[in-house]
Symmetry: C2
DNA sequence: CAGCCGGTTTCACGTAGATTATGCCACCGG
DNA sequence: CCGGTGGCATAATCTACGTGAAACCGGCTG
């Protein structure tokens, strides 16, 4: 509630995101804008949800980039998903009391906390929104499935290309991509934690992709130079994102 | 509807399954039992949902074993999940119109088709059940996340042990495990498709697990001989299954 | 009984990617 | 200008796992 301007743009991003997977009525839009939020700024690498927590609020990402991850004994970590503004990555805590992963900001970010109580009131009064939130968590699961395919069966280059395709499509959906150029403050180590590879191998493959003229990546920016080529390299089919018509381009 | 006795036991399995992740009121139980179903027998390997379908019914698995999977260009396939009686593995088709995976029976099985219309009526009249179904799809997603960790970061033995732990816990929850012995008609090829390994490597690792006295596996039966050992080998923590208290043993 | 047939086991060999180590560059505070 | 730090690049070695082919085995059917 601390900054009206930023909060407003946060709501906008949420509406864009939800409208990318479903239609919203004007009452639903209005009701969403009435959700009370508490804004919090995060520095790079800061955790805002811990594995094992029992939260009473869900988080809407307003600015920046975030990930779900889980640590393993042995010190490794697996990043489970990336999230961009408009996402509510721990919506699930509404129905699953105990968190089974942590969440962390990648680069400076901003989240809005929304009390579970408000969300429950909202979904009770607007069953259509409950369905849309449910749908969103189902799309989330579809993305996990696609990552499983990558981790299980695709080689390193294909995985990386696929991830970049997915992120670019998501950026486009919430109007954060400018000519297939979007802010993506990811390090190669973080990429390797997401893709199940070693950092050095990510480095090699990244250079291959650059060398093939498909992308530019670095200094917190991803730019896709050859969309069709990247799609082919990543064996990417956006069906699993279940976007509304016209957004899948 | 073809066999009252079997249908009845199918409902029971569904109730057990749902009660393993949430409490049911007696009205909710009764309403569930009133769901109209159409029973269908499947032979081993038979597909009952196709990638790209737009279904108007969801499937409740009554008997046997089933999996979600997706084929890749190049002929490979990735199995995304296994399902045992009581599961409704394509509940998601209620809110995501187009299927993004196929489903197939592993060994002879039986499914019950439930019309989406009936499910929508049910969840409208019993919002508590809508929540429970939502919760079930969220647990599903949590299982995907755990598989991602396996595929990305665990070695072959750990993955296999983890899978066996998970399946045994699920079998226990619906009373299909007898002294940690349960029917599991899986071939080594199917295991390899699930774990992102080659069949020969699955064979090697399987023998290691047998050699270590942890399990017996073959001829369609899985028997856990040393639960604690298997849990250690698989780095298994049942939290992600979000079971009701007492079932996680 | 022969003859499969699906599934399993074993072998020999190849390779993608992990690991470790080291060096580079850009940026930042003093 | 200096040293410190975080991210990136590169090369040498190692290993877990893949590939392909062949032998094996228990359970069927004819």
């Amino acid at each position: 509630m601390q900054d009206l301007l930023q909060s407003a743009s946060g709501y906008d991003r949420l509406l864009l995101k939800l409208e990318s997977i479903a239609d919203l009525s004007s009452e639903e839009r209005a009701a969403l804008r009435r959700l009370p939020i508490r804004v919090r700024d995060l520095s790079a690498g800061e955790d805002f949800v811990q594995d094992g927590d029992i939260p009473t609020e869900s988080c809407l990402l307003l600015e920046g980039l975030a990930c779900r991850y889980k640590l393993l004994e042995g010190g490794g970590r697996q990043i489970l998903s990336f999230h961009i503004p408009g996402d509510i990555p721990d919506m699930q805590s509404l129905h699953l009391t105990r968190m089974d992963y942590s969440m962390s900001a990648l680069g400076r970010s901003q989240v809005a906390y929304i009390p579970h109580a408000s969300l429950r009131t909202l979904t009770r009064e607007h069953p259509g929104l409950a369905e849309i939130f449910w749908r969103d968590t189902l799309v989330d699961a579809a993305i996990f499935r696609e990552w499983m395919i990558g981790l299980g069966r695709r080689d390193a280059a294909c995985r990386l290309a696929h991830l970049f395709c997915e992120l670019m499509v998501k950026f486009r959906a919430v109007h954060l991509a400018n000519n297939d150029k979007a802010p993506l403050p990811l390090t190669q180590v973080e990429l390797s934690d997401a893709l199940g590879l070693s950092p050095v191998h990510v480095n090699r493959v990244l250079q291959d992709l650059r060398g093939a003229g498909l992308i530019r990546f670095g200094h917190g920016v991803l730019e896709v130079l050859d969309w069709q080529g990247l799609v082919r390299a990543g064996d990417f089919d956006p069906c699993y994102l279940h976007l509304e018509e016209g957004l899948a381009a």
